[in-house]
Every structure is written in C-alpha cells, then in structure tokens.
C-alpha cells in the first residue's frame, strides 16, 4: 500500500490529479444534491428487487419442471436466461428505453423510469433465477421424496419443503446479485434520468472537476456495506441454528 501511495503521489500529474478529484470544498457542497439524485437509484433498486425476487423464482421453477410435457417451457426458460445474461445490461436499457416509446403506440408507457425498471427486471431475473436454480438443485432429492410419501403433491412439496430450504442456502449469492443490481441502477442515466451518476457528470462538466465521482462512490458504498454485513449476520445465524438443531456446538 505504501509503495502504491508513494508511486501515485510522486507521479508528475499528482497535483493536477489531486485538484481534479479531491476538492473537499466541492465534496461537502455537492453532497446533498447528489444524495438527492441517489434517492432515485434507491427507488429503482427497491422496486426492481421486489419484482425480481418473484419473477426469478418463477423462472427457476419453470426450468425445473420434470418430464417431456414441459420440455418447451424448459427450453424457453433456458433461452430467456441465455439471452438476458448475454446481452449487456446497458444495451437492454437503451433498446427498451428509446425503442419502445418510439413505437408510438398510445397505451405503451413512454416513461424512462418505467422502461429502465423493466430492463433491469428482465436482466436480473435471468441472473437470479440461476441462483435459485442452484439452490433448488442443492436440496437432496430424498427431501422431496419424503414429502411426497407423506401425501403432499409435487407443488406442495416444492412450496413447503424444497423452496424454503433452497432460498435459505442461496441468501449470500442472492445478496451478491442485488448489490450488482444496486450498482447497475446507474446505467439508467443513459436514458436521461438525472440519478446519482448523471448528477455527478453534470457537475463535472459544469466545472471541469471530478470530485463529484467521489461523492457518488461514497453513497453507493454507504448503501452496499450495511447490506453485506446484514447478509453475513443472516448467514451466521442460520448456521448457528442448523448446528444447534443437529445437536452440535
């Protein structure tokens, strides 16, 4: 670390760099303004996450449907996940956000926020469904078999036996994806919505100073760190309970 600090601070452009990116006066002054804009990121994140939690689980279940009857549905689910994991998120946002309103159909919403959220939901449903699927597959088949032998239908067994266990196991990777989603809300800026990133870019270009990036970075980190610690705590608690139930200390 010391070596890196020394290397950076002794670079010939350091003074210019410092003046451009670390202006504490500007940092303090712009904080409330960018925090205001960051609220839009938080809103997008919360709405999108609430939807994704269910759509992704639905997709994972569809993909796990057994037998040849459901083959077309399985294939569709696979194609969906492949497509939306493959296309860059920013492209999906741009295509929907500028493309759908351009259709000029009266009942199609033209709101940028609407299409941005739709795009994020489409993309992250694909990611998160893979996480759920991994969780569902990690539940031992004997659990399902035991539930069925007690007279539960397949759907009941899935709902009351398999999914509860699966979800608990995948909480950490789930949170990982949601932190990704939180950061990707900044991509909405390409549609002209003035959220945290766009506000920093506006301020940067207005004054030719980049300190504002630091403000935005602070805000994003301030939101993700508590989330990460909360996950750690959840995982630890879950582990304690499981071990206690098994009689292990």
């Amino acid at each position: 670390v010391a070596a890196v600090v020394l290397l950076v601070t002794r670079a010939s452009g350091w003074e210019e760099f410092k003046a451009y990116f670390f202006d504490w006066e500007r940092y303090r002054e712009s904080f409330p303004e960018i925090a205001d804009a960051f609220w839009i990121n938080v809103k997008i994140f919360l709405i999108a996450e609430a939807i994704i939690l269910f759509t992704a689980l639905g997709l994972a279940v569809l993909r796990g449907l057994p037998g040849p009857v459901f083959l077309p549905i399985r294939l569709l689910a696979i194609a969906y996940a492949d497509f939306f994991r493959g296309v860059p998120t920013i492209l999906v946002i741009l295509m929907l956000g500028t493309g759908m309103p351009a259709l000029g159909i009266s009942w199609v919403p033209i709101s940028e926020m609407f299409w941005a959220i739709v795009a994020l939901v489409l993309v992250y449903t694909a990611y998160v469904s893979e996480v759920y699927r991994a969780g569902i597959e990690s539940v031992h088949p004997s659990q399902d078999a035991a539930a069925r032998s007690l007279g539960l239908t397949r759907a009941q067994s899935l709902r009351h036996v398999v999914i509860p266990q699966a979800v608990r196991r995948v909480v950490p990777p789930l949170l990982n994806d949601f932190i990704g989603l939180q950061k990707d809300t900044a991509l909405v800026s390409v549609l002209g919505v003035v959220e945290a990133l766009r506000q920093t870019q506006i301020n940067e270009a207005a004054e030719f100073n980049g300190t504002y990036y630091l403000v935005a970075a602070t805000l994003f980190v301030a939101l993700t760190i508590p989330l990460a610690r909360a996950t750690d705590w959840l995982v630890a608690r879950e582990r304690r309970q499981r071990l206690a139930a098994a009689g292990v200390r």
């Binding site: 452009g13 451009y20 351009a102 390409v190 270009a205």
Partner: protein, 289 residues
C-alpha cells in the same frame, strides 16, 4: 504521378477554400513573437486541432469523410471550421499544416496530457471551468434556444415562465442544461442525455416536450434531425454573456499567440464576416421575454 496529381488537386482545393473562407481579408503579416517554430505544439510545424464527432452544421460544414460524421471540420466550411482556419492563417500555418483529431468533449477537459493544441466544439467559458483548462478569448457570443415539435402547446410559449410546466431536456454538462435548472426551473425534473442525438430522439418520442440547445445548433435540429420541429424561441441572457472559447491544456503558452490572432480577426472584421456567412440565418428566431 497519381500522388503528385492528388497533391496538386489538394493544393488547388485548399487555395479555393482559403480564398472563399477568408473573404475580403487582406494578406496577413506575422504576429510578433509568434513565429511557427517558436510555438509550443504537439508536433513541430503542425497545428493539431481537436473537435468532437459528429461535427454538424452550422458549426462545421462540407461532406463527411472518415472519421467525421455529418460534416467535415477539414472542409473549412461552417463557422467553427472557418474560424479555426482563419486563426491558423493568422499564425502563418498553411492549410496542409493543420491536422484535425477527434476528441470527445469530456476528454477535452479531463486531467492529463491533451492530444491537441486547441479544442474547438462550442465550449462555453466559465470561471470554474477556467481553473481546469485554459480558455482563449471569445470567438462567439452565444444564446440558448428551445426547440419543440410543431403544433404542440410548448410552441405557444412567449415567456421563459411559460416553459415551466413542460418537461425539458438537454445534453448533460452543457450550458443548455444548466440554463434549464438555473433559470427556467421547470416543475418536472429535466432530463440530461449523453448526446444531443439522444435528446432529439426523446423529443421525437414525446418523452420530453422541448430541448434546449444553443441557437446555431437549432438549425441542425430543426432542418436535419426533426423537420417536424421548430424553434420556440431564443432564451434571454441571464448573468454574464455566454461566450465560446478554444480550450487549451493548462499553462500552454500557445494561447497567448492564438489570443492575438483572435484579436486581429475581431479587429479586421473577419469574425463578423464569418458569422454573417454561417450563422446569420439561425440568429433570427424571436426571443422569449
């Protein structure tokens, strides 16, 4: 042989363009202390000028040739191209000694070595910006204007206050956007786009009611991009007059000589002639109260 022909052809073109671009201007005497070999340049003997892409009219003219889209800064056509060549001429550069290089606007002011001697693409001066880069003297004084779709309610606006109920947009980081947030203060939050083109697309889509651009740029928007649009009006100047300057890397001594060249161009009325030639037809829109 072919090459020689090409060179001869290029020289002829240059001659034609130079005579048309400079108009009634008399032959130039050298600026004292600004001999070409004493100038601080990227490349000795060559003036490297940066410009953003697409280069569009009336700022730039001519037919596009790679890498330039819409127009070509190398044409000498269009106001900014003509001004750049006039400045270069004052400094004693021949047309062939001028290189244009594509530089995105944001790259023009971020820290680090600049890949140009000066950058010209409608950059407005402000004291804050002047702390990160150096600006030349003004080569144009600018007004902002609002463009809306024909027949929409916004086109009936007569005052700046009339614009408040509408959703407006502009390219982020521009003084156009700042004008919206500082002086129009609309009731619904304005949109800030990566590029003018995206703002124009949003206007076409009906996602916004009007876009704010500088007055000359309205020409490109209303004639090329959305023929179904019109200038709602020019916006009155608030605060200091907005002026366009060339952007230099901080501390570049070349600026002194370029400033002298610009002084001369104002004094011998070349700049006025170029403005009449390239910008007169776009400056006629009425002004909002």
């Amino acid at each position: 042989m072919r090459k020689a022909l090409l060179v001869a052809f290029a020289a002829m073109l240059a001659l034609v363009a130079a005579t048309t671009a400079s108009g009634d201007q008399t032959t130039t005497a050298a600026i004292p202390g600004c001999a070409i070999d004493s100038l601080n340049l990227q490349e000795e003997g060559t003036l490297t000028i940066g410009a953003d892409n697409p280069a569009f009219p009336p700022w730039f003219g001519g037919t596009p040739r790679s890498p330039w889209k819409v127009s070509d800064p190398r044409s000498g056509q269009g106001y900014e191209s003509a001004v750049a060549y006039a400045i270069a001429r004052q400094l004693g550069f021949a047309r062939g000694d001028i290189e244009w290089t594509y530089v995105p606007f944001a790259r023009s002011y971020r820290p680090g070595r600049k890949p140009f001697d000066f950058f010209i693409t409608q950059v407005s001066y402000s004291p804050e910006r002047d702390r990160a880069v150096d600006f030349s003297k003004a080569y144009y004084f600018l007004k902002q204007a609002v463009v809306g779709l024909r027949g929409r309610p916004i086109t009936r606006a007569r005052t700046v206050a009339d614009l408040r109920p509408y959703r407006l947009g502009a390219q982020f980081g521009t003084t156009s956007y700042n004008y919206i947030t500082r002086f129009i203060r609309p009731s619904s939050s304005p949109r800030a786009y990566d590029t003018n083109d995206l703002a124009v697309q949003a206007l076409k889509n009906g996602q916004i009611d009007g876009i704010v651009v500088d007055t000359p740029t309205t020409y490109y928007v209303t004639t090329v991009q959305i023929p179904n649009s019109r200038v709602v009006g020019q916006l009155p100047t608030r605060g200091a007059r907005e002026r366009l300057g060339l952007v230099f890397e901080r501390g570049n001594a070349l600026r002194t000589c370029v400033n002298r060249a610009i002084d001369r161009l104002w004094r011998n009325r070349t700049i006025n002639a170029l403005q009449r030639r390239w910008l007169a037809k776009v400056e006629r829109a009425r002004e909002l109260k």
